[in-house]
């Protein structure tokens, strides 16, 4: 038995136990219970639940440190900085909730070393973690590209790549400091998955926990019919696969501008045995027929889209929803309420390269939905991080 086959068996053993599959008798084979070849072979360290463990222990452990540091910064350093900001503003007789521009907030707080340290630690971590991941995958690029080439052709689900498609300029930025952004690196999906695991989604990502919560909370059409679902800006497909897990009989699609992103999304979904169709397409030009989808969802898409892009996407969603269909976009909707929050938002915009934050906060999202012919309603699920605030309904 070759080493690679041995490794494959280990991966499959673990995955089967997690997926509660019934075909344990086939665990000693390179084929799945359905007789299909398994999708990934390079996760030599097995799975942690549905998460294919990283290629080396060192990479995993450094990531573990960055996850811990992210939590520490958010819980402790940010709190200390909040207190410092309150002291500074009080000394100047300024209400912490004063209505002021981002630039004015920055001018008030930028010179304080503790507040500046929140930015320094965040930027250092972003730089280091993405460098680490890119180096790890580039050093073994041939192996990991070969793995994706094989996964491209496998199911369940399908993959459509359009490497020569037109990319609007706004989609090509290095959003949140990820090298190459969503379109410019062969391993964008790999980097995004681990990067968010060690950062924005820490503790809620590796098992798609946040996305399963979103899928569970998603509002459905009043007639209860959910036959076709689309996630726009699917990135690595976590919400799309979660929707498929909630609605196993529905036809589910996930589209994204990034070819490497949908490749990874497809590989991940196929690895999980979840049949989702992924395609490299624009959210503002989905190529789907009018009145096609019962449900269109998105997660953290619109803050990474230009103002014009957002308007175009909303129009396209209104076109492809069927009458009675629901548009359920989740994003960081809450405008900054304090001077310190404006400073932090500015930092994320300027130095974490959330380049379209300002556009996002200037778009009248509900108004654009109504202008596109959708009725709007407030979410039934409050204002938690993983729920939409405004939902669009097509009459």
């Amino acid at each position: 038995m070759t080493d690679s086959r041995l490794l494959t068996m280990k991966r499959r053993d673990v995955f089967l136990s997690v997926a509660a599959a019934t075909a344990s008798a086939t665990a000693l084979s390179m084929q799945s219970a359905e007789g299909k070849e398994i999708v990934r072979t390079l996760a030599a360290r097995g799975h942690d639940g549905i998460y294919a463990r990283l290629p080396t222990l060192a990479l995993e452990s450094k990531g573990d440190f960055y996850a811990g540091q992210y939590v520490w910064r958010a819980a402790h350093l940010e709190y200390a900085a909040e207190q410092r900001a309150l002291e500074l503003l009080k000394a100047k007789g300024i209400d912490p909730k004063s209505d002021m521009s981002w630039a004015e907030a920055v001018a008030l707080l930028e010179s304080d070393p503790l507040i500046a340290m929140t930015c320094r630690t965040r930027s250092s971590q972003q730089k280091l973690k993405y460098q680490l991941l890119q180096k790890a995958y580039h050093e073994r690029a041939d192996e990991f590209l070969a793995e994706m080439e094989r996964a491209d052709k496998m199911g369940p689900g399908s993959l459509e790549l359009n490497p020569r498609m037109f990319l609007p300029e706004y989609t090509t930025h290095e959003i949140h400091s990820m090298p190459g952004g969503y379109v410019g690196d062969a391993f964008a999906g790999h980097m995004y998955h681990s990067g968010t695991d060690w950062g924005a989604y820490v503790d809620y990502n590796s098992q798609d926990g946040a996305h399963m919560a979103m899928a569970k909370a998603a509002q459905i059409p009043k007639d209860g019919k959910v036959r076709r679902i689309l996630e726009i800006g699917t990135s690595i497909g976590q919400l799309a696969t979660s929707m498929k897990r909630r609605f196993p009989d529905a036809e589910v699609w996930g589209i994204d501008v990034g070819g490497p992103m949908v490749r990874y999304a497809h590989m991940k979904a196929a690895d999980m045995g979840v049949a989702v169709n992924f395609a490299q397409r624009l959210a503002e030009d989905t190529k789907f027929p009018a009145n096609h989808f019962d449900l269109v969802v998105s997660n953290l898409l619109f803050h990474e889209v230009s103002e014009q892009g957002a308007k175009n996407i909303i129009k396209e969603v209104a076109r492809i929803l069927r009458p009675g269909g629901v548009f359920s976009p989740t994003d960081m909707n809450t405008p900054p309420q304090t001077v310190k929050a404006k400073y932090t938002l500015w930092y994320n915009y300027r130095w974490n390269h959330e380049d379209w934050y300002a556009d996002w906060h200037s778009v009248d999202f509900a108004g654009e939905m109504r202008a596109s012919g959708l009725k709007t309603t407030n979410s039934q699920n409050g204002r938690d991080r993983f729920s939409p605030q405004v939902i669009g309904l097509k009459a």
């Binding site: 222990l57 540091q69 290095e174 400091s177």
Partner: protein
């Protein structure tokens, strides 16, 4: 527009992109302080990786009396171990990072309240 540094004959599906300038940011009053913090972060991640590897080696030695490199790489901590190691990680992170939120605010030479013998002698 920038291109991926990856050189390969395989199809990557990567496109040209707009390079960001995140590497140019200086948040402290000295760019080398910024570099030091980045270095410290990298060093800390490496130390934690060694620490975590050591914990795995200890567990495997206790369980098996011997270890191989492959056993270390493959080891999947139990739920209890993962919870305990997480506590240790958080403690390690805090030990390294807490000084960043506990900075002083008194310029060291601005509050001298010590008699100066040389001044007394001159009188």
């Amino acid at each position: 527009m920038a291109q991926s540094p990856l050189k390969t004959s395989r199809e990557t599906y990567a496109a040209n992109f707009v390079k960001a300038d995140y590497d140019r940011a200086v948040f402290t009053n000295n760019p080398y302080v910024d570099s030091l913090i980045t270095s410290l972060t990298a060093l800390s991640a490496n130390v934690w990786a060694i620490q975590r590897r050591m914990m795995i080696v200890e567990v495997l030695l206790e369980k098996n009396g011997a270890v191989t490199r492959d056993m270390i790489e493959q080891y999947q901590p139990t739920r209890e171990e993962a919870a305990e190691w997480r506590k240790q990680r958080d403690s390690f992170v805090a030990e390294i990072n807490d000084p960043f939120k506990e900075i002083g605010d008194l310029p060291y030479a601005a509050s001298i309240d010590v008699p100066d013998p040389s001044v007394k002698k001159a009188r």
